[in-house]
């Protein structure tokens, strides 16, 4: 494989695209394009061997690129005809675009798709709901992780409402030298994703609010969104020193070194924290407005897998996708990658305590996805980029919650008809 990879690389570099079919067509082999380079070992040591137990005739190679370069390098390889057979799909528009310009194979009629709910498939289905073009693989759930030892030391209990949440932050700040909440705004996405999209669903009632935004019956200037920004602005005094220059790895380290009590999290952090934190940590869902209110969580469809239309091994690729819909894959995937939750309806037992806490919220709360992902980030200015920018500015104290909501709404109204 090492040599083949080198040949591939050299050929790509030299622009000698013609060389590639010769190296690739030797046997039925599938190459998977992915941005999950952290998962290389899990794929090569666990998932692919399990697949080969049932299908020894198909050779599978997992070839990830760095996450930030993935979209650009994948597009370049697709255009040059050197992309792999299976393509890991970003949710929504990036993949929809690939389907529309004919690089992804429609999966109509693939039996494995029946094991997924419509919400799970929504991220990889055309706007009219007719065609699905990627097999849903995993979602990530937002919530908060907390350092159990600090909570015990300061005699704190897990907050259920936002008032309790703020009270806990105040107690940590006044009663100890710990940083109450680990969050930085330098990378901007932390503020938007771990902040706004994490606590927001409780304000805008999950799917109800998200779909209303798409229909145009709700606006970003509505109370629900302004209140979300107001709530975020209140976090600022409890964040680490110099949080405006704090980046994601700093935030992670602040928590894993035991210097911060609460970490607004994405479930994908579980694996990192298991490896780095030498204290016990737990998780709680985003607090609600009043005790007993319905709760909503961001259960965001994040990873799918589709077939490259130019692939020479489409049958093998379909076999692989169908295998991915089995409970065997779901179980293997969920337990090898705690924090990435399989989307199929198959019953899965997750052994990791924090991951199983996260997934248990699916039973108690209603799931939704990030509200900027479907349709709303298609135009210029790009809504997701705007949310990153204004969320960071609100927490930095450079912008009022009202102005932030207004900027998001005016940006959207410029190009999206239902908001005009």
């Amino acid at each position: 494989m090492g040599i083949q990879r080198k040949i591939t690389l050299a050929a790509a570099l030299a622009g000698l695209m013609a060389l590639l079919p010769i190296t690739a067509s030797a046997e039925t082999s599938l190459t998977i394009e992915s941005w999950r380079n952290d998962d290389l070992e899990i794929w090569s040591d666990k998932i692919i061997p399990a697949f080969n137990k049932d299908h020894p005739e198909i050779k599978v190679v997992f070839e990830p690129s760095p996450p930030a370069d993935y979209n650009a390098s994948l597009n370049a390889r697709l255009a040059g005809g050197t992309a792999g057979d299976l393509i890991t799909c970003r949710p929504f528009d990036a993949s929809l675009e690939l389907f529309k310009n004919g690089t992804l194979e429609p999966l109509t009629g693939l039996s494995g798709l029946d094991s997924f709910s419509n919400v799970a498939k929504s991220a990889w289905t055309t706007d009219d709901g007719a065609t699905t073009f990627c097999m849903p693989m995993a979602s990530v759930i937002h919530g908060f992780m907390y350092n159990k030892e600090i909570f015990k030391e300061l005699n704190l209990s897990v907050p259920k409402t936002r008032d309790e949440f703020m009270a806990v932050l105040e107690k940590i700040k006044s009663g100890s030298r710990y940083t109450p909440i680990a969050l930085g705004t330098a990378d901007q996405w932390e503020a938007a994703t771990m902040g706004f999209q994490n606590v927001g669903p409780n304000f805008w009632k999950g799917e109800e609010g998200r779909l209303a935004l798409i229909k145009g019956s709700a606006k970003y200037t509505d109370a629900a969104y302004v209140d979300t920004f107001k709530h975020l602005a209140k976090w600022a005094p409890y964040m680490g020193k110099g949080y405006t220059a704090q980046k994601y790895p700093d935030t992670q380290n602040l928590f894993t070194l035991g210097r911060a009590a609460i970490y607004p999290a994405g479930s994908w952090d579980i694996a990192t924290f298991n490896a780095q934190a030498d204290f016990e940590f737990g998780a709680f869902p985003p607090p609600t407005g009043k005790a007993g209110d319905d709760c909503y969580i961001s259960d965001h469809t994040d990873i799918g897998l589709g077939i490259n239309k130019a692939s020479k091994n489409k049958e093998a690729a379909k076999t692989f996708l169908n295998w991915m819909a089995t409970s065997e894959f779901a179980d293997l995937f969920a337990n090898s990658l705690p924090g990435f939750f399989p989307l199929s309806n198959a019953k899965v037992t997750i052994e990791d305590p924090v991951a199983s806490e996260f997934v248990s919220w699916r039973g108690k709360c209603k799931s939704t996805i990030r509200n900027s992902y479907q349709i709303l980030s298609r135009g210029t200015p790009n809504l997701e980029n705007e949310l990153w920018n204004v969320s960071a500015q609100v927490i930095n104290g450079k912008m009022t919650p009202q102005d932030a909501a207004k900027q998001a709404e005016t940006g959207l109204a410029k190009w999206y008809a239902p908001h005009k």
Partner: protein, 309 residues
């Protein structure tokens, strides 16, 4: 002699010798430039087919508020980046070169190597190191400032709209100051000693020798250094991308032409890449640099020639 050459038939061997360089340069430099320009004249329709739209993309970039606000912001920031380099990097480079060329200086090689060293390091490493140094949580900067009683002045510079760009510019200056230093140093070494000796005999001080004799003689080098600074800064991308990412925060205060191009051409997160607008930004960058260079060649360099005689 000249008459003889022109009377002979066309010298084919010259064309043969030039061909490899011309071909390779045309294929990898001129062709992509022209093709980028051609591409910027097209725009994809709903179905993704490219239509010829002439200069519509340029009009959009410069007049549509969604595009022009990012464009002017990036251009403005780019000028700030360039100015900091011109006002800080090049004078320091000149000063260091002047100090290095002092005949009394000991350990010259050590200084020269140490100052030039950061230039050879990857920008990613530079960005990483400086972020660690300036990190408000565990950075060494605050401790160092505390030792000299200045810790009250410590601030998360990279996180504030008002200071982030200047901080990044100074990090870049720190990395690249070795280049102007080396170029100017080489020029200073090239000044014949009889000139300075003659001045010394005439009773000129060190300062007078530097300002009245050496500086005018190295002006062409300073011109080249300025042009290099101009081109490098308007093509800059890597340090900003490594430290602040493609969204160049906070609030686009560190966004320059390179990062704007990256976002437009390759896309970012949920923003889908737009190749024809990307080509428009790229061509605009090329034109800005071209105008800058032409200004230097026709206005400044011509005037400078007088002093070199």
């Amino acid at each position: 002699m000249e008459k003889g050459v022109s009377a002979r038939r066309f010298p084919i061997h010259i064309a043969v010798f030039l061909a490899p360089a011309v071909l390779i340069y045309s294929l990898f430099m001129i062709y992509p430039l022209i093709d980028t320009f051609r591409f910027s004249l097209f725009s994809p329709n709903e179905a993704g087919n490219l239509n010829f739209v002439a200069f519509d993309n340029y009009v959009k970039l410069l007049t549509d508020p969604d595009w022009s606000s990012s464009f002017w912001n990036a251009l403005y920031n780019n000028f700030i980046l360039f100015l900091v380099h011109m006002l800080v990097q090049n004078p320091i480079g000149l000063l260091l070169a002047a100090l290095l060329s002092l005949p009394v200086l000991k350990g010259r090689q050590i200084y020269r190597t140490a100052i030039f060293m950061p230039t050879m390091m990857s920008v990613v490493i530079i960005g990483f190191i400086w972020q660690l140094i300036l990190n408000p949580l565990w950075g060494v900067a605050e401790t160092l400032m505390w030792h000299v009683g200045l810790d009250a002045f410590f601030y998360p510079w990279l996180g504030d709209e008002a200071t982030a760009l200047i901080t990044l510019s100074l990090i870049s200056v720190w990395q690249w100051v070795g280049i102007p230093m080396m170029l100017i140093y080489a020029a200073l070494l090239g000044i014949p000693e009889d000139l300075t000796e003659a001045a010394e005999i005439d009773g000129a001080s060190h300062m007078q020798i530097f300002w009245k004799i050496k500086l005018p003689l190295i002006l062409p080098t300073l011109g080249v250094v300025s042009v290099l600074t101009f081109v490098a800064n308007f093509n800059a991308f890597d340090l900003i991308y490594a430290v602040k990412g493609a969204l160049a925060g906070p609030n686009f205060s560190t966004d320059i032409m390179g990062t704007l191009f990256y976002r437009v051409f390759f896309g970012f997160q949920l923003q889908i890449g737009d190749a024809s607008m990307g080509a428009t930004v790229a061509t605009t960058m090329f034109l800005i640099i071209l105008v800058g260079i032409l200004f230097y060649l026709f206005v400044i360099q011509r005037r400078m020639q007088r002093y070199t005689f």
